[in-house]
């Protein structure tokens, strides 16, 4: 196994595994977000649980962060290497004739998603960490108020139009990223059999439904606060 990760195929597989992990994470994240459409209480309960449960905080969260960082770093490293594999460019290259825009521009959609994640961290994650671990307030309740603060914060964030617009753009690109990435991950891991067709269909459904869900949540709170 030593040096395993230096081979091209192993890196592909590592990309695929981290991708599948993130794909599962997105489902959970969306599930929590969707509760906010129906019940502020449910959303608050779920958020508090996710934000304070030690297993999630100290076991799952680092894994997630590692997965995200790994996927991005490896993605960009591979992209650089791949660019280097063609040192003289074509005067004319008609990539559209043989492949989709999504498949050729994973690094573009990836970069937009990265930018979004930065905003997202500044918006939610860093304030959360600050409240919980710097200030040491694990209550989830604002001083002088009743009930959990999460739902109110969520609504508050989606007031500015620019942020909602950024969300929409980012999730459209996430959709495009997934449209290629979902089935690509299976191909990379050597999954190719009579179920491949199902995987491809599932990938299309996933890449539409998940980003759409996030977008609906954002729009819902923008118009309903």
């Amino acid at each position: 196994m030593s040096g395993f990760l230096s081979s091209s195929i192993a890196r592909k597989v590592a990309m695929a595994l981290s991708a599948l992990f993130l794909i599962i994470f997105l489902i959970i994240h969306l599930a929590v977000n969707l509760t906010s459409l129906f019940s502020a209480d449910a959303f608050n309960e779920a958020s508090h649980f996710m934000g304070t449960n030690p297993v999630i905080q100290f076991a799952m969260q680092p894994v997630l962060i590692f997965g995200v960082v790994f996927h991005f770093v490896m993605g960009f490293v591979l992209e650089l290497r791949n660019k280097g594999a063609r040192n003289v460019k074509y005067a004319k290259f008609n990539g559209a004739a043989s492949s989709t825009w999504m498949s050729r521009n994973m690094v573009v959609s990836g970069a937009v998603i990265l930018a979004f994640i930065v905003i997202h961290f500044l918006d939610f994650w860093i304030p959360e960490l600050n409240t919980k671990y710097v200030l040491g307030d694990m209550s989830g309740v604002l001083p002088g108020e009743e009930g959990y603060r999460y739902f109110a914060e969520l609504q508050h964030k989606f007031v500015p139009v620019w942020r909602v617009a950024a969300y929409v753009v980012a999730f459209v690109l996430l959709g495009l990223h997934l449209a290629h990435g979902f089935q690509s991950a299976f191909q990379s891991m050597g999954f190719n059999n009579k179920y491949t067709k199902c995987v491809k269909t599932l990938g299309v459904i996933y890449s539409v439904v998940i980003p759409l869900g996030f977008i609906i949540v954002a729009l819902f709170h923008h118009f309903n606060h």
Partner: protein, 247 residues
Amino acid sequence: MNLTLKIWRQRGPQDKGQMVEYKVTDISEHMSFLEMMDILNESLVEKDEEPIAFDHDCREGICGMCSLHINGEPHGPDRGITTCQLHMRTFKDGDTIYIEPWRAKAFPVIKDLIVDRNAFERIQQAGGYISVNTSGNTQDANAIPIPKLDADLSMDAAACIGCGACVASCKNSSAMLFVSAKVSQFALLPQGKVEAADRVRNMVAQMDAEGFGNCTNTGACEVECPKGISLDNIARMNREYLKASII
């Protein structure tokens, strides 16, 4: 018909090279693309200019020698054919056609449109064979029945002509389709299973050492491949490689 050609000229491996414009006139639509190139070359020789060097040999789509990147696609806009099978009726009078060599760091240009594909040779030498010596008494050819489906899939993979269009079409200059075709051909046959693990490890290691890019599953190679080699082969190679590395 009359055409404007923009062709890559490069004297030698060290030369920088550039696109040069040529005009050809009275081209018949029934000509093959390479016959059009022959006519251009003949006219260059008449003018005491050096003809354009390009690789070609069998001119019937099987030797894998011809290798032109035409209007942004390897082997031109038509599907399921090599450059030598491309006919001028694919183009229109007055068209401008870009003609470039395969572009990849692992395929350095030798002259004009000719590239060095020795990287493919070295990959094959790293394991693209079954270790059996010539002898008059290997076991009878019918001693091991092979399911028809496996034999057919193996044949489909073996149809690769090693032209390098997969690398040329790939935005990453990846050689995975080429390598996987050979790995698959043998992995599907009982004779090839004995050395399967070593073969895939060694061939992939050589592929990486040659400086080809990594596969991102865009699928361009499968579309541009003149022999229609399937992406399934790449999945099979990934599987074989994982099996060989982990187990």
